[in-house]
């Protein structure tokens, strides 16, 4: 069901459409909420409050962003309010040693002058079904789980949730530049893992 159909169904009080939406986003919502509050129970409350906010706001939702992005904006606001009361679980201080170091691509792939030794393989031959398969998604999730915490937090918000750079840097209280450094490292590592899987 696309966003328009889902929105219409929710407005019409379609319980199955709501249950589908919950199944789709609840795990990611809990994961994001967990970054801001101390306990799993508090994260669940944040998510519950978010769904209530979604229902109460659905008549006014104008579709300028995707439904998903809108839901997660509500979540971030709820989580921040709650996190301020609770003291957030993981302080997001300035960049640490593990956050910004290391090249995006294995240095042995380049010659002394900085050109490719051998061109990267083309992925254009990888069919969409393979890219969106359960196996590839599991590989991506495992790769994310291996990331240092700050890189993980940024890539989840940027690429899995779909927030933009300014939104993520505001949410995490880091500069846009630092946000982008973390994102760059995180994406580079996921790409390297996928390269092993897809080629």
């Amino acid at each position: 069901m696309d966003d328009q159909a889902t929105i219409a169904a929710l407005r019409a009080g379609d319980e199955a459409a709501f249950a589908d939406l919950v199944r789709r986003y609840q795990p990611l919502m809990l994961r994001v909420a967990r970054q801001y509050v101390k306990t799993p129970a508090a994260a669940e409350e944040v998510v519950q409050e978010t769904w209530l906010g979604v229902l109460n706001g659905i008549d006014r939702f104008e579709g300028r962003s995707s439904l998903k992005t809108w839901i997660f904006r509500i979540l971030m606001n709820q989580a921040k309010t709650r996190g301020v009361r609770d003291q957030r679980s993981t302080p997001f201080a300035s960049l640490g040693a593990e956050d910004g170091d290391g090249p995006a691509v294995d240095p042995s792939r380049f010659d002394d002058e900085g050109w490719w030794n051998a061109y990267p393989r083309a992925w254009s031959a990888v069919p969409a079904e393979r890219l969106e398969s359960k196996e590839t998604i599991a590989t991506v999730r495992d790769a994310i789980a291996e990331l240092p915490p700050r890189q993980r937090e940024v890539i989840v918000l940027r690429d899995l949730v779909g927030l933009d750079g300014p939104e993520v840097s505001e949410a995490l209280e880091i500069s846009e530049g630092n946000q982008r450094v973390l994102l760059h490292r995180a994406r580079a590592k996921v790409r390297a893992v996928l390269e092993g899987e897809l080629t």
Partner: protein, 83 residues
Amino acid sequence: MTYLTCREFVELVTDYLDGALPPADRERFDEHLDMCKGCREHLDQMQTTLRALRAAGDEPARGEVEGLDRLLDTFRDWKRSRP
């Protein structure tokens, strides 16, 4: 103006995709992209990686979702309260 090497190019991809490269760097980036097949493949791999990440974010939960019953109660209350 000096050319970018491939090693430099790969470090600018995230800034490029965010539209955050200063104009001069953007020009060098585009120039390199035009002449280098390897970096075109790399950029394509990064974009494919982003598609895979998005797919991972949209994957519905397998099995039961915790708290679904309570949420469905919330939904029914909300529905009843609607004008």
